[in-house]
Amino acid sequence: MDKNQLREFESSRITCVIHSKLSGLVTEKLFSSGVESIFIESARCARQRILPRIFSFPGKKIEINDSPAEVLSVSVPKENRQSILNLIIKSAELKTPGRGSVYAQDIKEVSTNELQNLTAPEGEDVTILKDLSFINAILSKKGDGEKLAALSLKLGAGVPVLTIGMGTSIRDRLGLIRITIPPEKELIGLVVASHDAPILERLLIDEGHIDRPGGGFIYRTPVYGGVLDPMIRIGRQVKAASMEQIIAALDDLKKGTSWRKRFEGEAYRLESNLSSTPVFSEISFICPGDSSDPILKAVTEEGASGVTISYLRCLTGETKDTVSPARVRGVLCVPQVMESGMTEIITDTALKLDIPITVQKIPAFGVFSHKRYIKP
């Protein structure tokens, strides 16, 4: 592979979280519109389930219900962003609460593949919510995700999406004693209104004990817009429309979520670094499943404090593909000043070893690790 083949361009990353039974529906539509490849990651969505108490005692029992989901991710040219969102929303009926969510993030991408203009069907644009933020919490201890998921549901923040990742770098430096530290990490993704995001992040830090040593890592990235799944509760519906449907309808009417802004009086409690000034960058790279090790080694040597890797499948439109669909995505957060250097290290290592690579970059804010806010 030649360095000249790698190009940096602006694109839009569209992420769709959908029940695993419905993902085929969406991938089929995306391929028909000209999308070349879709990355899929297994996930689960947590929701509250309301049950009556035993022997009809007064009150209700609330438990967490998990449903298998898949996170589909595609890169599209910015000009096709709205049409692809329309396509996904319409094909999977995402306006109906409980079916899933979709959102677009504007990113910078470095890849050999140039994005082709897509041919999504024309039609009236679907109203999408804007001014959103994606909160990504990476928790070191398996099982801690439950508490965080329960909290975000309790606060009505949205439906949390839980995935599994593997932590590298710090663990690797310990020698064989590393076996005492489980490499599995639990990742929680939550898309919320930007105005509530800092306060919600603060609450998640407290509840998930991210402020304790070895607790984990949390940050936010901006979201251009999307449709969120408001169905945080499942159970018997006794009214003509659920509260979630009413909220979704009001969001549509108000063309945003600012009407439901809360935590106003508490803003003063926020530390400055949880504010919305991006000083960090989230760099994610996607490479074939068997070739991530040298890249991970290179970024660690360059000074990345930790990389979280997730296992993905890459679907292509080809019916018969000889290349393995197994992919690895590594995610790291670095100060913006290091962004270009780190990108170069990743691409250089990939070029040297002839590894097909895609690097995506997006500003990150509110980056928090244990005991302190990370300052660049």
């Binding site: 029940h19 695993s20 039974k21 419905l22 085929g24 529906l25 297994s42 996930a43 689960r44 969505c45 929701r47 389930r49 219900n65 998990d66 449903s67 298998p68 989901a69 898949e70 009926e93 109906t96 609460p97 409980g98 079916r99 995700g145 839980l162 995935t163 599994i164 310990l174 020698g175 064989l176 004693i177 590393r178 076996i179 005492t180 530290i181 599995e184 169905m231 499942i234 159970g235 499943g289 068997d290 090790d293 296992y311 499948r313 679907l315 593909d321 393995s324 669909p325 197994a326």
Partner: protein, 681 residues
């Protein structure tokens, strides 16, 4: 890193792992000892040895599971991930075949089968006897071929992304049809239990995680649209194909095997040629008459009364005794095999102490030695095969090679400790309870041993009268602790001439002389608890549960899978014990549950079908098999059923039902989250 910090980290890690195993074993240990003390009313003997064995099991499980997760599974997954990328389907299929065969030769599942069939007699089940005793190599090859074909089929499934359901709906009806066909033949019907059990026991503690990881690797490398179900299904196939292999072996050997006859007919001179075709030599035939036959068989063998008596008298000569009854002691033979007439003829060799058996930790060295050899053969050949394929053919080095090596060492240590612990602690405990268990439902007193009192003074016998004038005579005998025990005097046991009294030690039935519902209920409760508790501690199930949780990102919980499988094994054992107690036809025990499983599979998700059928294969592992067989054989022996086959097959099929039901319940909950869909789901 400072040494102190390293030690703290290692300590916390060890405490966590060992704590997990104490939790998983707590139920079965408390249950067995509780049942023995509270229900059977006798405290466990050799408590120190059992406690030592149990602690070995705890450490063994902790080491073995860590070894699986650090070494074996990452290795299997890596090979699975790279094989499809660097080779073609033919190499993968050949590798699968080779690995399946190797796994069968490496893991001593066949030992469990021979143990289960240790009481099989060649007159009532000639074909079964022939397969187990005369053709064990052919049995191993047919089981190995079955596992090999299964792993190869599994690889094809993952490579081409074929659903597991067509495999299930093809192989299971074929197996059921073969079972129906075999049930129509007098000889073949006897091997049905063996065939279905061999399917259950083949997938051992090392094979399951390796095959599972291999499947996940291939599935990750090739699976385009597979979700959580990718990687499952091979264990199920590895449980089904060996059944077919054994049935085919039986059908082939049946044409040259004599049909069942009565014991007298079998040992008669007229039938000698056919009998010798099964026993081999005259000496072996005579030993069969002594060790597995009754007095009728021995009488028929000699034909002549005098010769028969002479042979019984030779039992006092050590060399001749070895020839006739093998390693069995004369006392054991007199209690378990001899008729009252034979006991009179044969020379007495009574035990003076009511209890026999060595106590303490003696013999541990030998146990460790033999178990480490077994562990060595179970772990090393397969892992070496994978390592060679990975390093030499695929030219890939695992990222954490030191972890893999440490994992293999942990697996070796763990398996040695685990199997040694089971042999010294868990199996004797289960065996002790199992042996006492028939007292719960049996209506007559059980003979436990004989004590010879010499010299005996009849004048010391006391007579008691009832108000009707009936007389009973008794005397006092010192028990092991020196306390006087009231013993009824039986005239027939007193030899006036020699001045000695033969006291037969009997344990009375627990619930009176009648067969009680309470007794049967207790046996069934015991069976359920034994199955449930031993499955909770099964290492391959823990590995499967963790894999399921990981692949479904927690949407299906490890705890849920383990609990539903354990309940299934418990239920399976209940049905298995009912089968033994009422001697129900094998076909009717196998056909209905499998038809139900097929129906449930039809309604189930692809994901759960693979998981559930694999659960059926992993349930019967290193912890469950010895305990279940001990119980099955003791109940079977008490009811004069020659073998304990079939009970493991029940422990395999019922977990499939419970996991499929668990899957349907999870699915119904999950559906609520997308209930408003018009019809796609």
């Amino acid at each position: 890193m400072p040494l102190r910090t390293t030690l703290i980290m290692a300590w916390n890690y060890a405490v966590l792992r060992i704590g997990e195993q104490i939790k998983s074993l707590a139920f079965i240990i408390l249950y067995l000892t509780g049942f023995q003390i509270i229900v059977l009313g006798s405290p466990p003997t050799n408590s120190l040895k059992i406690a030592f064995g149990v602690s070995l099991v705890i450490f063994g499980l902790a080491f073995f599971l860590e070894g699986i997760f650090l070494g074996l599974m990452p290795l299997g997954e890596k090979v699975g991930l790279y094989l499809p990328q660097r080779t073609g389907i033919i190499v993968i299929v050949l590798f699968g075949l080779f690995m399946g065969l190797g796994a069968t030769f490496a893991e001593p599942a066949i030992a469990s089968l021979r143990f289960a069939g240790s009481g099989v007699v060649p007159w009532s089940a000639p074909l079964l006897y022939r397969i187990l005793e005369n053709e064990p190599q052919m049995l191993i090859v047919s089981i190995g071929a079955g596992v090999g074909v299964a792993v190869a089929c599994g690889m094809i499934r993952f490579y081409y992304g074929i659903s597991i359901k067509p495999f299930i709906f093809t192989i299971i009806p074929v197996l059921l049809a073969a079972t129906v066909y075999c049930s129509l033949d007098k000889n073949l019907v006897k091997i049905l239990g063996l065939a279905w059990d061999s399917g259950a026991v083949t997938t051992g503690a090392v094979t399951v995680p390796l095959v599972l990881a291999l499947g996940i690797g291939v599935s990750k490398a090739m699976g385009k649209s597979e979700g959580a179900s990718g990687g499952f299904g091979v264990v199920m196939l590895a449980s089904a194909f060996p059944v077919l292999g054994v049935l085919i072996l039986g059908i082939v050997l049946n044409s040259t095997t004599p049909y069942p006859v009565t014991e007298t007919e079998f040992f008669s001179a007229a039938h000698r040629e056919k009998a010798l075709s099964l026993a081999g030599t005259e000496e072996a035939l005579l030993r069969l008459a002594y060790t597995r036959g009754t007095n009728k068989g021995r009488e028929s063998y000699f034909g002549d009364e005098n010769e028969y008596r002479r042979s019984l008298l030779t039992l006092s000569e050590p060399q001749q005794k070895e020839k006739l009854i093998g390693s069995m002691t004369l006392n054991e033979w007199l209690i378990n095999k001899a008729s009252p007439v034979e006991r009179d003829i044969a020379p007495a060799d009574y035990i003076r102490n009511g209890r026999s058996g060595k106590s303490g930790l003696s013999g541990m060295k030998n146990i460790f030695k033999s178990e480490s050899k077994i562990a060595f053969f179970a772990v090393l050949p397969l892992t070496l095969l994978l390592l060679i394929v990975l390093l030499l053919f695929l030219r890939v080095r695992p990222k954490y090679f030191d972890e893999v090596v440490l994992g293999i060492i942990f697996a070796l240590i763990g398996m040695t400790l685990l199997t040694s612990g089971i042999r010294t602690g868990l199996a004797p405990l289960g065996d002790e309870v199992g042996r006492s268990l028939p007292r719960v439902f049996k209506s007559i007193a059980r003979e436990e041993g004989r004590v010879l009192i010499e010299p005996f003074d009849e004048k010391q016998v006391i007579t008691v009268f009832s108000i009707d004038g009936d007389q009973d005579r008794f005397f006092y005998l010192k028990d092991g602790r020196g306390n006087p025990v009231h013993v009824p005097f039986i005239e027939a046991n007193y030899d006036k001439e020699k001045g000695r009294y033969e006291h037969i030690v009997k344990k009375p039935p627990l619930f009176g002389p009648e067969l009680t519902l309470l007794g049967i209920a207790l046996v069934l409760l015991f069976a359920f608890g034994l199955g449930y508790g031993s499955t909770l501690a099964e290492p391959s199930l823990t590995a499967l549960g963790s894999t399921v949780e990981e692949l479904t990102v927690g949407a299906v919980r490890k705890k849920g899978v383990i609990q539903s499988v354990s309940v299934g094994v418990g239920a399976g054992l209940v049905v298995g014990v009912i089968w033994l107690m009422y001697d129900l036809p094998t076909l009717w025990m196998i056909l209905p549950p499998y038809l139900l499983v097929l129906a449930l599979t039809y309604w189930s998700d692809e994901d759960f079908s693979g998981i559930a059928w694999d659960c059926g294969g992993v349930t019967t592992g290193s912890v469950t098999v010895p305990l279940v067989l001990a119980m099955g054989l003791s109940i079977g022996g008490e009811l004069h059923i020659a073998d304990g086959f079939g009970i493991l097959a029940m422990a395999s099929v019922y977990p499939i039902i419970t996991v499929l039901l668990y899957g349907l319940s999870v699915k119904s909950h999950q559906r609520r989250s997308i209930m408003k869909i018009s019809g796609e789901v």
